[in-house]
């Protein structure tokens, strides 16, 4: 049923790169341990899979995008913290730099330059998109567009993997 001659159309697309990395992570996880599938293990596996999905997506995208750079940085910091929990120097607190927009609006004292009509949507969006704190609104929108595209492919690939596992 699964023919092996159907190769992916574009071997270097983000989708294939992500799929490769994600499956490698899955294989590593499955190889690692296979104890009783208790809830604890399942939860850990869930966390691992989630982290693997995000990081493999980010590494498939590469450092070209601000959000992928932010994700990779977070991953690196996360592993550094977990490996050296006592060392506070490695912990990089992510400062939220005041963007140019906010600075100018602060200086002028008027929210004229807000684009979100004051409902806090811009801040929500910044919170959603990784690395969205340090950019102006225009850049944030383009990063959001790319992020949405990548999330879509991620969901697609993961659904397919799940389907493959279940058959």
């Amino acid at each position: 049923m699964k023919t092996e001659k159907n190769l992916p159309r574009n071997p270097s697309s983000i989708k294939t790169r992500f799929a490769v990395k994600f499956l490698q992570a899955m294989n590593k996880m499955n190889k690692r341990k296979n104890p009783s599938t208790s809830m604890a293990v399942k939860y850990k596996r869930y966390q691992f899979i989630r982290a693997a999905a995000t990081s493999s997506m980010a590494s498939a995208v590469g450092p070209r995008r601000a959000w992928s750079r932010a994700v990779l940085r977070k991953m690196r910091n996360h592993t550094a913290i977990h490996r050296f929990p006592m060392n506070n120097k490695t912990r990089t607190t992510r400062r939220f730099p005041i963007t140019r927009r906010k600075r100018s609006s602060i200086l002028r004292g008027n929210p004229r330059q807000e684009d979100d009509l004051g409902f806090g949507q811009e801040d929500d969006l910044r919170g959603l998109v990784p690395g969205g704190q340090g950019m102006d609104f225009c850049r944030l929108l383009s990063e959001t567009a790319h992020y949405i595209k990548c999330l879509k492919t991620q969901v697609q690939v993961m659904t397919n993997v799940l389907h493959h596992y279940s058959t």
Binding site: K2, T3, E4, N6, L7, P8, R9, T16, A19, L23, Q24, M26, N27, M29, N30, K31, N34, T37, S38, M39, A40, K42, Y43, K44, Y46, F48, I49, R50, A53, Q113, D115, L117, F119, Q121, E122, L125, L128, C138, L141, S142, T144, A145, Y147, I148, K149, L151, K152, Q154, V155, V157, M158, T159, N160, V161, L162, H163, H164, Y165, S166, T167
Partner: protein
């Protein structure tokens, strides 16, 4: 330039076309200028005759519509007369030489733009460059006599080819009746860029074609991103509970079938059907969901003793999800995923609530089991 001269010629037929310049220069006009303006004889065109009398008393009502009508009539004349010339010479316009050294302007309503950037080739050789601040004052006095907006691209098209190649920064034209200080120009550029990005996002997010307005668009975008992230979480949860085959062959997985197999199936249906089929409770109204993705095989990946709690959780979650989704769910299997489509916002918020519920349940479960994983 030749075209400029031909433009002059055309307008000289109508008497002194510098008359056309004057409407643009506002209330701060030198009274002497206006006297001379009044003295100019305009013979050929009847509209022009009215202008001196019309302009002087109406000098304070530049923002009124009557002025724009007058200019519009002129604009049509100019358009029909020498459209190509106008198209080529933006700054030069087609107006005759004015003794007052004002820059030529285009009068067609489409191209009645005011120059803002220091374009060296724009100025006509006939005109000494008079004060720009006067023009600026005029423009500010015009107020918001807004026209249909022109893309910056059109302004660029109006420039001749070598002008475009000379400049490597973005030229922005202030439209008629808009403020021209650098801040508002930069603001306008920024706004245009943002609207361009919003249009791109509108294409990405499904079901956003009818939505106009930045606020609602942003809402939809935020909901969509949240729902996509939740989908990833759900999928990873599902993958965690599946008992995986060891060493899945990557080449096999990477076959086109895997990558494109479920491309058409909405992810939500995949998730929902997977959940429903994993716990075949008799009493559940699963008909709607099971009917749609008929090809999904039921899978029962977990060994029996451990999965009762998980099944319970899934059952609770999926039942609530079913119930909530059926409120606004489009039973058409080609409906989109758990993201927004139609009642998208509601669905997204529902999925958010459900995911929070799921997370809470999972956490309480783990804590109850005496594990401190959280």
């Amino acid at each position: 330039m030749g075209s400029e001269e031909s433009g002059d010629r055309v307008f000289e037929q109508r008497g002194d076309s510098s008359i056309l310049n004057y409407p643009f220069y506002g209330c701060n006009w030198d009274p002497i200028v206006f006297n001379e303006f009044g003295n100019q004889t305009v013979e050929s065109s009847s509209h022009l005759l009215h202008f001196p009398s019309d302009m002087v008393p109406k000098i304070s009502n530049f923002g009124s519509g009557s002025f724009s009508e007058m200019v519009t009539s002129f604009g049509h004349i100019s358009e029909t007369a020498c459209h190509s010339n106008i198209a080529q010479n933006s700054e030069d316009g087609t107006l005759g030489p004015s003794p007052y050294g004002k820059r030529k302007r285009k009068l067609s309503p489409k191209n009645a733009e005011e120059e803002q950037h220091k374009d060296p080739s724009g100025d006509t050789s006939d005109f000494p460059n008079k004060d720009d601040d006067e023009k600026q004052k005029f423009e500010q006095n015009i107020g918001t006599n807004s026209r249909s907006k022109q893309a910056v691209k059109q302004a660029k098209d109006n420039l001749t080819g070598d002008e475009i190649s000379k400049e490597n920064y973005i030229h922005v034209r202030a439209k008629r009746g808009q403020a021209t200080n650098s801040h508002s120009l930069a603001e306008r550029v920024r706004r245009e860029r943002i609207s361009e990005r919003m249009r791109l996002l509108q294409e990405l997010v499904p079901g956003c074609n009818k939505i106009t307005g930045k606020a609602m668009m942003l809402d939809e975008i935020i909901n969509y991103v949240q729902s996509l992230q939740q989908q990833v979480e759900f999928l990873s949860m599902k993958l965690a509970t599946v008992n995986p085959e060891l060493n899945v062959d990557i080449d096999r997985i990477l076959s086109k079938e895997i990558l494109h197999l479920r491309a058409s199936n909405p992810a939500a249906l995949g998730i929902a059907s997977g959940l429903n089929s994993s716990h075949p409770f008799p009493g559940c109204p699963q008909g709607t969901f099971n009917g749609a993705p008929g090809s999904t095989p039921p899978f029962n990946p977990l060994p029996q003793p451990d999965n009762d709690i998980l099944y319970l959780l899934q059952h609770i979650w999926s039942n609530e999800l079913q119930g909530l989704l059926q409120m606004g769910f489009d039973h058409d299997p080609s409906a989109s995923s758990l993201g927004p489509n139609g009642p998208g916002q509601r669905k997204a918020s529902i999925s958010r609530a459900v995911s929070a519920l799921w997370r809470g349940l999972w956490k309480t479960l783990v804590i109850r089991k005496g594990l401190s994983l959280i």
